[in-house]
């Protein structure tokens, strides 16, 4: 998660402040802390930067609107993950409908390296990156999500299990399969 949570030390502090005063600062801290996570999840589902950004906005607006009803049974990240997955599946349905009427957009998931001033961009071949994205997006959803949450978001198996509703053993098997498929697909590049 993003460490930019401003002056708040914990999620519960953010929630308390936002729910009691509607503090803009608390809302901002909340969004900044989870924006990368939500955006990354959305990007994996939608494979398009603009849609993912829109989805992330919608997720946070929904989340802030319902923060009072967040009971803390699950972690905030798994709650956000579920909202994101719902928002994304709704957007995908909408996109599908629009594409039926001829209004479709090109996925730019495979072109994720085209923006962002990363110095490593010069070092790593674009071909490898494109291939990685292609293989990743081609993985079954549970394998892809387990891999991304474990590898990129560095979440524990318990947290991922909470989000995906899969046992820890099942997650480990998914993770292994994802790593193996990526290794096999990318080893000669």
């Amino acid at each position: 998660m993003n460490g930019a949570s401003l002056v708040y030390e914990s999620d519960s502090e953010i929630i308390r402040d936002y729910c009691s005063t509607g503090s803009e600062k608390a809302a901002n801290a909340f969004v900044r802390k989870y924006q990368k996570f939500v955006y990354s999840v959305a990007l994996r589902y939608l494979k398009n930067h603009h849609d993912s950004e829109d989805a992330a906005q919608e997720v946070f607006i929904k989340a802030l609107g319902n923060l009072k009803s967040f009971r803390g049974d699950a972690s905030l990240s798994s709650w956000l993950y579920r909202i994101t997955a719902n928002v994304c599946s709704n957007m995908k349905r909408k996109k599908k409908l629009l594409s039926f009427f001829g209004e479709s957009e090109r996925d730019d998931f495979l072109n994720v390296s085209s923006s962002g001033p990363s110095p490593e961009q010069q070092l790593v071949g674009k071909e490898f990156e494109d291939n990685f994205m292609e293989v990743l997006s081609g993985l079954p959803v549970k394998q892809r999500e387990t891999f991304a949450m474990r590898y990129f978001d560095e979440l524990s198996y318990n947290e991922i299990s909470e989000m995906l509703g899969t046992s820890v053993g099942g997650l480990k098997a998914n993770y292994y399969q994802a790593v193996r498929k990526l290794s096999v697909a990318l080893r000669n590049l």
């Binding site: 901002n28 906005q57 962002g116 490898f128 990129f152 993770y175 292994y176």
Partner: protein
């Protein structure tokens, strides 16, 4: 993470479950030792580990995490903007809901009451239909002027008798005639003054409005049709 007995043998499946975290350096020291002590027994997995290390070395260098952080950097600003707009919209909506909608509803209800079907017979109103029924054929305009300008009651009676005679000439058939005989339909005369100050006697068919409720809509329409078909100048 599960606890492991040191130096125990792991099955191929158990090794597979540990492999990704081993490659990506996520095992704790005990698990790592256990995995490494078992690895020589599974050369295929040792090959996978070597392969995965090379591939994930490249994936690490792509630094996708930083790219996503960079690409999502504006989300917080956009959410704040969006919330601001929503707040404004809500305020507008509150104003509309509190003042505009009730006013519009009242106006609408007033229009409904005034313009309800019960009173909406103007287009077929026999009084209006016959309002232009003038009677210069009976009286000379000068004579009319004198009659209306006169204060003598007998002149009004004379005028009324003349109008009654005209009304009697209206021969309605069927339902219309029935209602004439019951008094629901009667003749009605009055006069008007034009721009030049001339008197115009007008005659019209009159429905006793208090009795209108007694009429079926179908009969009412039938009577209107009958009245409209009468040639009043004949």
């Amino acid at each position: 993470m599960e606890s492991f007995t040191p130096n125990r043998e792991l099955s191929h499946y158990q090794m597979e479950m540990l492999l990704p975290d081993y490659v990506l350096g996520k095992l704790n020291p005990d698990e790592m030792t256990l995995f490494e002590s078992n690895l020589p027994r599974y050369p295929d997995l040792a090959g996978e580990v070597a392969e995965a290390r090379i591939v994930f070395g490249k994936i690490d260098k792509m630094d996708l995490d930083s790219k996503n952080a960079y690409r999502s950097r504006n989300v917080s600003v956009k959410v704040q903007d969006n919330l601001g707009h929503r707040l404004k919209r809500q305020q507008k909506f509150r104003f509309v809901a509190r003042f505009i909608l009730p006013t519009a509803a009242l106006i609408f209800m007033a229009i409904l009451v005034i313009d309800s079907p019960r009173f909406d017979k103007s287009s077929n109103n026999p009084e209006l239909a016959f309002a232009a029924y003038r009677m210069p054929a009976i009286f000379d305009p000068d004579e009319l002027y004198q009659l209306f300008d006169s204060e003598y009651e007998e002149n009004y009676d004379l005028l009324g008798d003349a109008f009654d005679r005209e009304f009697d000439k209206l021969e309605l058939s069927g339902a219309g005639q029935d209602y004439i005989s019951t008094g629901i339909i009667s003749d009605y005369y009055y006069y008007d003054v034009d721009e030049s100050g001339n008197y115009y006697p007008l005659n019209s068919i009159n429905f006793e409005t208090k009795d209108l409720d007694k009429l079926d809509e179908e009969i009412f329409q039938q009577i209107l049709e009958e009245i409209e078909n009468v040639d009043i100048n004949s």
